[in-house]
């Protein structure tokens, strides 16, 4: 790990200001992803700003009947909150499907959104990777890519976003609240928060330098049957091959977002309009422009069957 200077701050505003004022600074909250990457020198910040202990750690009712989740709320606490369990079950389920008890106790809401890919070539510093070393090439294209993205990919990168939580946030139409170094605030719809790789896969979200996430808001509950089905190689503690977040209403309408298939949570409103016609119609639209390899082709039928299974369960209960 590279040496770094370390700073505690008293407020989100001070944190954002400090980040902009210090070259190569990073915020640290739970640290479960950043420290791992720092040990491998994939992340080499010169300065860490510890944002723990400055508030942003509560789940509160928001003005419009929804919930405002502080950036520092731990994954365990968000998954366990009675309001989330009752009204946003897809979010509880997604959180509980990720990582382990130990990691969920540390990992934060904002940090989870900012997780970096688990592409093995991103982690292997001996291999070219456009995300880790822009312009060096992509080892996953033409390499071992069973775990990789099949939609929204580019010739520069086929990495997936690893978060389960973000997929549930996407299906719930969450909003990301931030503060900038100049003290101004903005709200970013989750749909616009993560970027597709294009030819700049090292830029993964739309945050400006020094901009700090302060909260994620969940709109008023939409009801319906809520599911998060994660398909993985082990029964526990593994990243998704594919995952399906779904909210199905009594009349058969609903919402669907996918994990494990793209550089960001994958959702298309026009695909959801096909829900009443079954999983195949929805999948045909969601994954219409899929670019699969021999290794990753299985993901298309896996999404369809997973979705069909959820729709069946929704009708049964």
């Amino acid at each position: 790990m590279r040496a770094f200077t370390y700073q505690r701050v008293r407020s989100p505003e001070e944190a954002a200001k400090a980040a902009a004022a210090t070259p190569n600074a990073r915020f640290i909250a739970g640290g479960t992803n950043l420290l791992d990457l720092m040990k491998l020198e994939i992340e080499t910040p010169a300065h860490l700003i510890d944002v723990n202990g400055i508030g942003m750690d509560r789940i509160e009712a928001s003005g419009d009947g929804g919930l405002r989740v502080g950036a520092l709320v731990r994954n365990t606490d968000l998954a366990s909150d009675p309001r989330v369990r009752r009204d946003y079950a897809v979010l509880s389920r997604a959180l509980l499907a990720g990582a382990t008890g130990q990691l969920r106790n540390k990992a934060t809401t904002a940090g989870n959104l900012l997780q970096r890919t688990r592409c093995p070539y991103f982690y292997d510093t001996n291999q070219p990777c456009n995300k880790r070393a822009p312009g060096s090439g992509c080892s996953a294209i033409g390499g071992f890519n069973r775990h990789h993205a099949i939609v929204g990919t580019s010739d520069a990168c086929i990495a997936t976003h690893p978060s389960d939580m973000a997929v549930a946030m996407r299906v719930l139409d969450a909003n990301v609240e931030t503060v900038k170094p100049d003290g101004s605030r903005r709200v970013i719809p989750i749909a616009d928060f993560h970027r597709l790789p294009g030819d700049t896969p090292h830029i993964e979200h739309v945050l400006a330098p020094g901009e700090l996430i302060t909260a994620v808001t969940l709109p008023k509950p939409v009801g319906g049957r809520q599911f998060y089905q994660k398909v993985r190689d082990r029964a526990s503690y593994a990243f998704a091959l594919v995952s399906v977040a779904a909210i199905v209403q009594r009349d058969g309408s609903g919402r669907v977002a996918l994990g494990g298939v793209a550089h960001k949570p994958w959702r298309m409103p026009n695909a959801e309009q096909q829900l009443a016609r079954g999983g195949k119609s929805v999948t045909d639209q969601l994954l219409a422009n899929a670019r699969v390899t021999e290794d990753s082709a299985f993901k298309v039928p896996l999404v369809q069957r997973t979705l069909d299974g959820l729709l069946l369960e929704a009708r049964r209960t």
């Binding site: 790990m1 505690r8 640290i28 791992d36 723990n52 389920r93 990582a99 008890g101 540390k106 526990s236």
Partner: protein
């Protein structure tokens, strides 16, 4: 590099001294094999690292941290890079907590920080200013074993024993999580109290790997303390 040699506690025994000698030997071997990497451990080193794309290696930065471990207060000055795990093992001489993968995958480093189990390898010591840490040494002693420690002995819940402190700290906090009603991936009804079933306990312990494969005995030990019937479906 030799910070932990200088702050040796008085009255340390011959075993501890032998262990330090082994550590020193290992570091010397590393230094011989990897001059660049060893340079990074030398205070004040700023020399360019051979083969590194970045010309200069930043100098280590020291910072103070005060926390309580197993009820005792400690204040140390450490390199900012020091993880909680390394603080416990290398600075406080609490070597019960083990370093397995050092990347949050194996759970051998599990400790209980402010009442919650965490991977001490993925947390900076400095982030635990004012924290109360409970390690395996604080959970029980050879004279007064924690019920989980006694159950692991009774059920032979280990072979090599390396994962055991992490398993036991994790299990103690896990049982508390169930008691507090925290749901898991296998909890059927999110709005009901979770059960202490074998399926629940297996899922909740998935962050602790045992490479010897003593899982069935580990489960028996935990189930006994939990008051659950390992063959049944609920407590």
């Amino acid at each position: 590099m030799d910070d932990h040699l200088n702050d040796a506690a008085p009255g340390r025994d011959i075993d501890t001294a032998r262990r330090e000698l082994l550590i020193a030997g290992a570091l010397t071997a590393t230094a011989a094999a990897l001059p660049g990497a060893a340079g990074a451990q030398t205070p004040g080193a700023t020399a360019p690292q051979a083969g590194s794309p970045n010309a200069a290696t930043p100098a280590p930065v020291l910072s103070k941290v005060a926390l309580r471990v197993n009820g005792q207060r400690y204040e140390k000055e450490v390199d900012t890079r020091t993880t909680l795990l390394d603080l416990l093992r290398e600075h406080l001489r609490l070597t019960g907590t083990k370093k397995g993968c050092d990347q949050g995958q194996c759970g051998a480093c599990t400790v209980i920080a402010d009442g919650r189990r965490i991977n001490s390898c993925l947390s900076l010591a400095l982030m635990h200013e004012g924290s109360e840490i409970l390690t395996i040494e604080g959970l029980g002693t050879p004279d007064k074993l924690h019920p989980l420690q006694a159950a692991f002995v009774k059920h032979d819940g280990y072979q090599c024993g390396y994962c055991t402190p992490g398993q036991i700290c994790s299990a103690a906090a896990m049982l508390d999580e169930v008691k507090r009603g925290i749901p898991s991936h296998v909890t059927a009804d999110l709005n009901a109290r979770p059960l202490l079933s074998p399926m629940e306990m297996r899922e909740r312990m998935s962050g602790n790997i045992c490479r010897c494969g003593a899982y069935s005995n580990i489960m028996d030990a935990i189930a006994e303390v939990a008051g659950a019937n390992p063959a049944g479906s609920q407590a």
